[in-house]
Amino acid sequence: MSLRWRIVAFMLLLSAGPVGGLGYLFRERTIADARAQQAERLAAITEAARRRVHERRQAERRAIARLCEGDFVVDRLMLDLQAGRFGPMEQDELVQRLPNLMRSMGLDSLMLLDGRPGRRHYGRVFAAGHFAGRAGADEGATARAVEEAGERWFVRDLHVRQGGETHEMQAILTGCVAREGDARVIAVGGHVLDQAYVAALGADVPPVRLFLTGPDGELPPDAARGGPREDVHVFEDLRGAPSARVVASVDDRALQARMRELDQQLLYALGVTVVIAFLGGIVAAFWLTGPLVELESAAARVASGDMSTTITIHSGGEVRKALMAFNHMTGELKHAQAKLIRAERIAAWRDIARRIAHEIKNPLMPIQTSIETMRKTHARRHPEFDEIFEESTVTILEEVERLKRIVTEFSRFARMPRPQPVELAVEDVARHTVGLHSGGAVEVELHVEGALPRVRADREQLTQVLVNLVQNAADAARARHGDGGGRVEVVLSPAEVEGDEAVRVEVIDNGPGIPPEEQAKIFEPYYTTKSGGTGLGLAIVHRIVSDHGGSIDVGAVDGPEGGAVFEILLTRAGPPMEASTTQTDAALPLLRRR
């Protein structure tokens, strides 16, 4: 990770960490406070609801007990029963009257049952306020339950008639028995256990809600809100087993909504912080690392040879000092490089001078020897002077010719023009070159493998390259095989260089090959293994190929026959707009000055 991104990450951690941590602590504290409030309210409401259940039950119990102690309707019924005049009309009147009585007592259910013994009487419904049609029905079980329960309340399933329909409901009932002579009437009343009853407790204050549940206290699915809960009252059946419960439950949705809102706000704050930290980090990173990046860029330029590179200094402090040190260093490097170049130039001049001297010195010796021989033989009036003169002048002329050739080659190498590229087919140039060498002692063949792209190249220079290479190859092959058996192959094939189409030119001979230690020096000027070579041919080839943006390499041919292979890669784009200089350029001024 770069320094820049490390700075950004550090800024993010520095800002988001505290914000997130503090937000989390605030959230937890808020939840804890809200839970404490919920618990407090739940306890208060549960207590109030319990009180109301108790009060209501007491009031209803008193009202039902009063029925048996001297209520007009029950008394009237008892009198009718005693007098034996309770017939259908009296029963109908009772049935008509009972709903009003039930409502006036605030009850949901009221039944008057026959308590007289005997199967024909016991438990028969005189009238039912909650279901007129039950008059005459057998409610013996209810009658027994009332007598068994005494003053206790008990839960029973009850069928209640409302709006022309029968509804099966749970009811909490209690009863009493009125006795007068033979007459015995059982009054049973109570209220329906439904949500309306729970609502009537009046303790339904958000977020605490009261629910009527089954004996297990399980809340209805739509009421399960996940908040704390507490039993307000457990209603029991005749056997004392729980039948229903009123449960106070906290509706946690408001708190959960608040928490979601808080979470959203926290996330929002965190997000804003992260964005600000990121942007701030970016700014800081660029501010801090800008000079370093510039320093890095300048160092790269220096590394690539641009010793004039300097950095404009805008910063202060340590950065300013570092940049000033860099500028100072590059100044020193530039000075040292100038000195080095001068030294190299001198060295190159010396080397070239040495080589030229060596090359020139070689022909001078035969010339000197020939001239001295001619003078000696002339002075001695040597009888074979003419022959010697002839031989010596030939030698002198040959050596002079050699000197001229050396100078011409050197001059050509020094005056190598820039390539004038045109789009051409390498195949045509190669075919032309091979044509020049056909019919000699060495067999020269051209092989084209696949479709070759046209390349931009200087036709003359490319021809010179191929001629040089083929000539060298032919020389090597003949050197090994004499006038028979030497073979040179020029192989053209499509290639690719850095995504660009290219042409691969391979010149393969079956000569003695080039030892690996010589392969590195083979393209240096004046390096030659041939007795009559100038050592500039392959240097020129190397330079032309380089000027065309291509590359040249040399290797050995695998296999028992051996040989050398020169491989050239010519890109389709050809020479760059400004042809690059080669390593020999540094020596050219010296040569040109000469």
Partner: protein, 467 residues
């Protein structure tokens, strides 16, 4: 002042005073008004559409028939001049000369023809026209002259005078038949639009009923209000109770009661949940008639004395079934029967939903078949078993069978077989009951459950006037 005039006045006064001790022997007292609560909203005064005892009471007071069947079985001409003249299958009936309708004009043959023809559109009365031949789909009844009506009978030997004595065939001369009809009866009447009716005396004679000048039925009110008004003297009777709290009334009260020969049927819809004999038999067996007594029914298994009970399938109560019973919302009696049935069926695990519908909606619902049970009140048009079974068939929606029976009204065997095949449950006979002030005389119910308004009169020493 002229002596002769003073003398005449004194003579008249002396005659009046001398006549006073003989007043009790003169019979019921003329005059006075009776105010009674309507047991249900009065919605029609059309005799062809009267279903309940109350509606029959009203139409009996407003209309006359051509003939009447007396309690001893004899037929008496009322609007007819005498027995019909029958030649083969054609009967000719002459109208009684001088008979006036409530418009104080003589009744004509065309009135009779129109009145009988219109009956064909009344579901509960049209079956009686099965006794007459038809022409172009209409009863073959025509006017011969202003005073003679000719009727072609469905078969020879048919007692057309008995058929014409049927209460739904009472003669409606015209007017607004539902609300303010013109009849020929003892009273003229009109609906007050709120469920009440006002009857005013039309036919007044010194020695014949009706005795009271006016009978007003106030719109129905809740039980407690009705009883309170009766006890406070604002009403002259109550259908519910003698006193507000069932105790001793503050004024003398008498109770008129009768078991009307008008069966109450439970009609099943055999095209829905009760299509299976098993289900219908189970429902029928779940009903305890004795428990219906408190809602005003006298438990009976058959339509009437001498008739067999309808043959009901045996079955088990379909536990868990949900049935829909439809009752008329203007008839508390039907609603109470429905609620009582709901209680009984609930004990067998059958949920009965009792829907109260307006008369029009109820008719539409019945026609649509969107019901399981309904109450049918059978109002026998004539004494005898045949008419009773015919009315029951019509009330149960089996009009075609009723029309066929109309030609054999006197055949006891046919009536018995029809009664046996009636696919209904007879719940019982409707018991009618009215608590009324004790000084109302001649007040009660006839054998068909109708209040005898024409015979009612106030005692000559009236303790208190109705406020």
């Amino acid at each position: 002042m002229d002596r002769s005039l003073i003398g005449a006045a004194l003579a008249i006064l002396a005659l009046a005073v001398s006549a006073a001790p003989a007043r009790g022997a003169l019979g019921p007292k003329h005059g006075g008004a009776i105010t009674l609560p309507a047991p249900e909203p009065a919605t029609t005064l059309d005799p062809a559409r009267a279903e309940t005892a109350f509606e029959a009471t009203l139409t009996e007071a407003l209309f006359d028939r051509l003939y009447e069947v007396r309690d001893d079985g004899t037929v008496e001409a009322v609007l007819a001049a005498g027995p019909p003249e029958i030649a083969e299958d054609v009967a000719r009936i002459r109208l009684r000369p001088g008979a006036l309708h409530h418009g104080t004009r003589p009744i004509r043959a065309r009135h009779v023809v129109r009145s009988l023809q219109r009956t064909s559109s009344a579901p509960l009365a049209s079956w009686l026209l099965g006794a007459f031949a038809t022409e172009n789909g209409r009863p073959a009844i025509r006017e011969v002259d202003e005073e003679t009506v000719e009727i072609r009978l469905a078969r020879r030997g048919l007692r057309v005078d008995i058929v014409l004595a049927a209460t739904p065939l009472a003669i409606v001369v015209g007017g607004n038949v539902r609300g303010r009809p013109l009849g020929t009866g003892a009273f003229r009447g009109r609906l007050d639009g709120r469920g009440g009716v006002e009857l005013r005396i039309f036919r007044s004679a010194p020695d014949r009923p009706p005795w009271v000048n006016r009978v007003r039925f106030t719109p129905p009110r809740p039980r407690e209000e009705e009883v309170r008004a009766f006890e406070l003297g604002r009403l002259d009777g109550s259908w519910w109770s003698r006193s507000l709290y069932g105790g001793q009334p503050v004024r003398p009260v008498e109770t008129a009661t009768a078991t009307a020969a008008s069966p109450v049927l439970l009609v099943p819809n055999r095209a829905r949940a009760l299509r299976d004999d098993d289900a219908w038999g189970g429902v029928a067996s779940a009903i305890d008639r004795a428990r219906l007594e408190r809602v005003g029914l006298v438990a009976r298994r058959s339509l009437g004395a001498g008739l067999p009970a309808p043959r009901l399938p045996r079955g088990r109560a379909p536990r868990g079934a949900r049935l829909r019973m439809i009752v008329r919302d203007d008839r508390p009696f039907e609603r109470r029967v429905g609620e009582a049935l709901a209680g009984m069926l609930d004990e067998r695990g059958i949920a009965l939903q009792v829907d109260r519908l307006s008369p029009d909606r109820l008719d539409a619902t019945v026609a649509r078949g969107d019901w399981d049970l309904r109450i049918a009140l059978v109002r026998p048009p004539l004494p005898g078993r045949g008419p009773l079974v015919g009315a029951a068939l019509a009330a149960a929606g089996q009009t075609d069978r009723a029309r066929r029976l109309a030609t054999q009204l006197g055949d006891a065997e046919v009536a018995a077989e029809a009664a046996r095949q009636l696919d209904v449950l007879v719940l019982g006979q409707e018991r009618v009951l009215l608590h009324h002030r004790a000084d109302l005389r001649g007040f009660g119910f006839d054998g068909m459950g109708r209040l005898t308004l024409a015979d009612a009169s106030f005692a000559r020493s009236r303790p208190e006037a109705t406020r």
